[in-house]
Subunit: 318 residues, 6 copies
């Protein structure tokens, strides 16, 4: 079975893949004919594909997010690889394939990521901070097991959000050791809470974001999370004008650093400055790591990375 | 009694004024001598003033926000007018002067402004919208009677905030008539709520902002008001993910229009677009009106107005 | 007859439409075949359409801005609706259809709009201001009856320019009442003159702009209108350095507010500040209203609106 | 007699200078005393100066733009040189000094500069272009003899405007030779007209701009000159929509290149692109030349030059 | 033989052309068929072309940068001209055509351009400056004979880089005459060195840049040339901290003027200010000249020019 | 002895301090009198001070960077503390005070910092990378022992540069462990080299930068360090176009991330992305830590921090 990342022009292949997208379209022919415009993916990457001469049965059979067995041919179309599907059928129970094997996932099991997050939350010494963090984590307990951190930007895969949080927590722990003037409770809380409302901002399945929610577009995850802190405080009878609520709201609200990046206030506490930079360091390095991972090893340059000022990244030979 | 706005270089004057600022400083002389560095104001404007050769008693006597009787001389210092104080004493009960006569105020009585706001709030038809608006207005019932809308930008005087809201409500009513596709409840609610957390953002007395609060600097009035809507919904058992909460949070969060102006999301509802432009129209025209009002009528140009791209305004002769 | 706005994929339809665009193109087939690439429109919206297998006669028959009777089928092409034309013929006299029924128009009759504008112009008290306004309005007397206010931005339909002016005049009248320090003559004149040279800037037919003129690209409507004021003054023997010419030129030149938006000077008169904000409020709200109007009512979001920072607008359920 | 440029701290000096600015101010002493706050200048530069212990007669005697004989001492105040005036009297007829010897001037006689400009104007082949250029030059015939090109930016001295035009004409002639596809008439006309309305934009005496006029602030020299072209065309019965008027207006309107620099349209003719760059090259090099000229030769760095992105310039030893 | 620039829709043509690009692609047909996607060029311009129904032999025969004889038909595809190739064969020796006749070239022979550059280099009086310039020119002796100055921006043709340098040297000589305070050695050296590392930045053949090199993307021609000056100094035993090395590095490093345009320092020497503006003047005018040259003379407007703020240029009728 | 950080208005104090700045100035009195305008510092902070009634002997005695014993009084001048010096004498040998006790220093001994840097350099596995790093470190062996990392921005104290490097090396080591795809040699080399040319960019004594050098202003530390890598390669016979030279130059050139921050190329290698973010995280947190350290602990807000978007930082009470 051929991994998508390894497909090259003129390759013939047979294997199981996930139908990430699948839409009936019409050719330009006269009269136009129906065909299926498809995106196939596996854990190594994705490729567009076409099923020409589609039958009425095909249109009833194939839907996004289903597993299929495909026989096809890799072609080049507009400088990109594209598969021409010769045969395709739905996967059956006795094929022994599982959907989660075909999606990109964080390299650590979701259950372990969420366990780590909860352990760190439990280690927060200030009871009010801990209560608010627990309240917010509980709100997205299910989603943390599988949500990506973003639609395409970075950590855009199964459990990417939890993975992003865990890596940041490691960095945060190191920075707190290096700089004892930082309050570890606030660093931990800031990291766990900063993107906690992303699952309300986006609709995602299997680590793939299909859309932003109305809440996401009209309020945004930053103000949503800030509102959750208010809600947590009210439900737990913590004073809304307490230092804890002030600090936690500030951490969340300022973590994008600048107004043009969506933060209504700029970092003005040591821990907020740290949070923004830890977030940025982790997100940018992950973008680079993911781009290199999904680029053929023989290619010296990745495709352009939008979150990196539209620059491609060079794979040094050293 | 000379109005400050009418003072000219070389004028001698006697009158009652408000000590807006009053600080003991030292001259450059050797050895340095103490003097009082003062800002006098009345309803027509303000002027810096010096009381040289200050006695120990003087230092115990004069404090900011007190009324004083002053005899002085107007001089020019660095191209600006400045009063040299020759005699000064605190106002006494039988002088018959009242502090509110000496500060700039909205041209309508605070009690009438607040009454209007409450009437409009009561006219909101959607019960949930009305409940949330009432909750937030109740939070600042006292402050609405006297808070300015900003430190220096616009409506920076006694009850300036309430005045700004009332003028916007008039405009909003007109625009709703012109464009019936707008939801008047949301326009009313958006106008009343958009700056409702300003009293928590700033510390003000007699319409004069002395400082921003920690809440103001670290959270900002936009996210504060968004949090109040969450709080109002919880206290009134309105669903946090309801359309009403969504719409009201969006109106408040987006009213500064752009990220660089402090809005974490941009207007994406018709009423949010209207709210931003009504706010902008009222604030900018008020800046201009205030600048012309406090500039001597013989002067064709006002001083530079920061909120107007640092432009001065020309008083047309037409 | 099916309104274009109501067409859905797989619909069959018959009806009269306006051929807004009509061009002979070649398919990708080998050898390529000719087809007609068409945009059909009616007052409710527009849709791209294809007439495959086009005959020599067809190519002689169909031209832009003609009315046609069409039988067709709605398909989906690249996520957008597109009509496949099965039969098409030119409209005949006895079909009883009129071209102006098939274009988007201002909701008020052009003749009434122009009448209102002239009435307001006549109500200007200052004789020199009135003379200049009349001169400029006379220059575009015909075009005011049908020109749009912009190519795509806002009020892009039959008599959109006059409609934009009239709505602004209503707003201007209200603002003058609210703020008596404003000079109503200048507000009226500024509103009527601000976009008065648009018909020289663009070439439009039936409310549809096909191109910008050389004058439009090399001088622009702002400097053109400023030149008309000079011309009006010379022809009417008004002093070029008079306060009236100064004020009117300033109003026109500054109404885009910022250099990057095309204004060589920024608003520096109260009336110029008002003009910019009234223009902006009316244009933005019209964009939103038009976008909502031409979006199916079941759709919660409009398409992206370029003039609104590329944001879509949400149709609140309240 | 000591040139101002050569003055160094602790120097005593006697000589004639121009009182560029002279204002009565008060010291911080108690009671404050009057003194004269002065700017002295000669053709080599300028220096601030103080006349302490000023008498009533002094205040009646000394005014800006008068010549004086001064005996003084150079001191350092806040890192800058400043003269303490020990004795000062007005220049008398028999002192044999002439005011124009004490101001910075273009290095070529004004009469020669203006002669050159008129010769070039006369050499324009297209009669309509020539007529319009002559009309506009005639409007400022007197001012061209002495106006500076800007308040402080560049060529800020006697006849600086004419000098700027003449140097640009030399460059323009060279560029036209290098690139025969350029129309020399338009290059000549563009250069002569581009800043022709500066004398209406600013009030200047002896090459020193004291202020911007209302016309300058509210219309700006770019739109003013564009209006003059309209006026010239009307007075000379040239069609307002002719190619000549179009081209000349475009040259003037676009010569600042970008909206944020004041041009409502960007250069879109070859000659307009050339004009902007010739203007820019000449203005920037003149700023640098003037800064080096007025900096002591032993100083390796000039003061910061605002028009050069706030950079100082290094005097290379090569 | 038809020049590409003169081709119009529906023209049939026969002639020799250069295959600038040639790639096998597949049609959308079912099953897809191979075709050749081609760019043909001659010295007057270029056109995309298709060879449908391509044979196996064709795929072996035609490669980029080969000369071919073509019989074809000009069609319109998506508003652009495109050639349909009816017959095509490789050029043969006895066809008497030479590849350099079919590419755009500087209007002066490369050998003459390089001769001029070397003559000017030899005329530099300062021995160290001359040594460094010679060293760097020697590094690209071969490439100067044919490299373009940029990929698409300006002077994008055979020997465009040398041509750009020579025109700038002419301008530089004129400016040095106009302003004797400039150091001609530095002007000459700056002009020759400013883009000298472009051949290391880009890969080009026959004046056509196919790609940027790793060095070009990761270091850029500005820092590369700055490194060459260091290298030249070391190899010639010139002090690295000498005034000459300082000045030459500064000229190269600052010639893009602003950080956002790639210069790590801004011009801070008179000659650096001159260099930037001479470069800019020459590059922009060349863009305009080239755009007008390659646009049909009957077209009043060129296509949009990216390096000119995305503006098209108008061909004045004067 | 009173630490400067602890001084409060009205305090009298006696102690040893460093004369960081000391200049003779004149009062505004008539006639003006000389006084010494002074900045006193110790390891805890600095304060401006005045010595009035200065004698001729005083002017000969006191110079910057000398230790003095001072008796004085703390006053408030323009809202800031300022010391009035009552008595002052130079420190004597038997006072037992050492200058390095009176300056702000990195919290680790310079000798240990430099030792760490050299150890890390020695641990680089790639011989060419190590050679180049060693060469550059050797160039500034002395300066590394005491240079600050910047004039005011961050790490502006004795050995601040070495301290910055060491903290970054710790972070870099951690990040390499977290992300094994990063090349540790390049991370180490990039961190050591990124600011290595700062000592050539600035003139500093005792950790205090007095000025930028000509090299610093005209070339900048980024291009200087890039040139050192070229020099190191030549001296060590490493190929200039080798992957090692490419990678090291890229790391240095791109570490400011954006053109407007001084980097001529943007990070396009994983290690370059890491380097920029590690640098940024360390610099920003150090600014915050230093600002909090030098602010009285009773103050909830630090002064504004320029490198932090002009924001002050709040000292949370948690």
């Amino acid at each position: 079975m051929t991994l998508i990342k390894q497909m090259q022009a003129q390759d013939e292949f047979v294997g199981f893949y996930l139908l990430k997208e699948c839409e009936v379209k019409q050719t330009n022919a006269t009269p136009p004919k129906d065909y299926l415009d498809i995106v196939l993916c596996d854990a190594s990457g994705q490729i567009t594909a076409k099923l020409w001469d589609v039958s009425a049965a095909d249109k009833e059979t194939f839907f996004p997010m289903g597993l299929v067995k495909v026989q096809g041919l890799v072609q080049t179309y507009r400088d990109k690889l594209q598969a021409k599907i010769q045969r395709m059928r739905k996967a059956k129970d006795d094929d022994g394939v599982t959907i989660t094997d075909f999606i990109r996932s964080a390299p650590i099991r979701p259950i372990d990521l969420v366990y780590t997050i909860k352990q760190v939350a439990a280690s927060i010494e200030n009871a009010e901070v801990r209560t608010i963090v627990d309240f917010c984590v509980a709100k997205v307990a299910d989603e943390l097991m599988h949500y990506p951190a973003a639609k395409t930007h970075h950590h855009a895969y199964y459990a990417g959000l939890a993975y992003h949080i865990v890596r940041m927590l490691e960095l945060g722990e190191f920075v707190c050791k290096q700089r004892p003037f930082l309050n570890p409770d606030l660093i931990k809380a800031g990291i766990i809470l900063h993107d906690i409302a992303k699952p309300e901002e986006m609709t995602a399945q299997l680590g793939i974001v299909s859309d932003y929610s109305n809440q996401g577009k009209l309020i945004g995850h930053i103000a949503l999370a800030s509102g959750w802190i208010v809600e947590a405080a009210i439900r737990s009878e913590i004073q809304l004008d307490s230092e804890v609520v002030l600090a936690l709201q500030h951490l969340v609200l300022s973590h994008h650093n600048l107004g043009e990046w969506g933060s209504p206030v700029q970092p003005q506490m040591a821990e907020a400055v740290a949070l923004h930079h830890i977030d940025s360091l982790d997100a940018k390095l992950q973008m680079v790591e993911d781009a290199l991972d999904t680029t053929q090893e023989t290619e010296p340059w990745t495709p352009i990375i939008r979150g990196l000022e539209n620059k491609a990244v060079y794979r040094t030979k050293l």
